[in-house]
Amino acid sequence: MENPEAMSVSSSHSELIDRLGGALVPVRRLAPPWRRVLGWLLVVVAAALALLAHYGPDGMLQRWTVAPELAWAGLGAAVTAVCAAWAALSLSVPGRRVLWAWLPVPSALLWIGASGLGCLRVWFTPDPQVAALQQSADCLIFIIGLSIPLSALLILLVRRACPLRPVLTAVMIGLASAAASACLLEIGHAEASAATDLLTHALAVALVVAANAAMGGRLLSRT
């Protein structure tokens, strides 16, 4: 039996359907989130290669040998960047679960935990080379400066879809960009992790996420 509601399509709906049918053109389907994540990661990898060419891998590897928890922190930041970007691009497709927002949480915990462990080591090690206040400020500028183009690129990718939860999606974009920037910072970061350093990184990440939530949310809510 036909649904009576389906039969009672009002004339204004019929007119709209006619108009939309007339305007129909074939569309190219949106690429799946994993493929769009790969596109964004290509840019991150290009930046990493440029930094490696400039600073060389020796300083980073030497520091990781002395303080292996910093390598874990870098790995945590890298995985957080991938997961948060994937979550942002998945959340931008209608009908996808909000649970995607939890994807970067475990790696973010690894990132924060390992960075905190680095601070503890500094307290107990007699002569570590730790970052001065000026160097911490440089880190802040590096993370924020690199996060801006990375966030802009992700916003462009997300805007091609239809983010129905704009603020949550923007938070994921901010987290992905800040985590990727913090990971890239490891390449040229010459000092061990001190409490001021950790606080600077946390402040930079918080600023990037908050700025994305405020501005990115508005940009994405026009869908």
Partner: protein
């Protein structure tokens, strides 16, 4: 909460792919009788993405009841449901490229309709906060700027104050304490040292006197 819908309007609270389409690239015309309505709509959407106008128009017409069900479920007022339908159809048109044939059309549509219903509720809420309804305006603000009305109110208040002042002392005290200052019977009894029964009788008599005086005059 995002939800999927069946043609009968029953809801499934799961936006994961609940039923996959066996062959998403199947043309709309070749749909068989064994297909569920959800599979049929998914096939129509795939055809619409390729530019099939007939399939698209059938799909949009078929989507209206689903959108209405979502809007009602979200609490949209009946007279605004059609606005949600129109807004959702426009959104479907604008973002049709985001539909993934590996997932069901109904889940995708329910997410869009859900969003547009929430938008409608928010916009209604904002409008209600800004606008003053007729009944409320008449009740609260009728002639509030009118000088003659203000003078009349002032005159009425003065007459009431005079009438209360002319009451016997016991009755006046009962009206002032219980009626005008809205103190409790027990408090007034404690502060004046009078029994609650006497206060009640005095208040009753005072109100009777005032009523007779004002009604008698009007």
């Amino acid at each position: 909460m995002p939800c999927s819908l069946t043609q009968t309007g029953s809801m499934v609270f799961d936006d994961a792919p609940s039923c996959r389409v066996s062959n998403p690239h199947m043309p709309a015309e070749s749909s068989t009788a064994s297909e569920t309505p959800s599979q049929r709509r998914t096939a129509w959407m795939v055809a619409a993405q390729a530019g099939d106008r007939r399939a698209y128009e059938k799909l949009l017409a078929d989507s209206i009841s689903l959108i209405r069900a979502v809007a009602r479920r979200c609490g949209v007022a009946p007279d605004h449901v059609d606005d949600v339908v129109q807004e959702t159809l426009l959104t479907v048109h604008r973002v049709r490229h985001t539909f993934d044939p590996a997932r069901t059309y109904d889940n995708w549509l329910a997410a869009l309709a859900n969003r547009r219903a929430i938008d409608a509720l928010r916009s209604r809420g904002r409008r209600d906060r800004r606008e003053v309804h007729d009944e409320f305006a008449l009740e609260r603000h009728a002639d509030s700027g009118d000088a003659s009305a203000a003078a009349e109110r002032e005159q009425r208040a003065r007459r009431l104050r005079l009438a209360v002042a002319e009451l016997p002392p016991g009755q006046r005290e009962a009206v002032e304490q219980l009626g005008l200052r809205e103190r409790s019977l027990r408090d007034v009894a404690t502060s004046t040292g009078r029994r609650t029964g006497a206060l009640k009788v005095n208040l009753h008599r005072a109100l009777k006197t005032l009523r007779e005086r004002f009604h008698g005059e009007s």
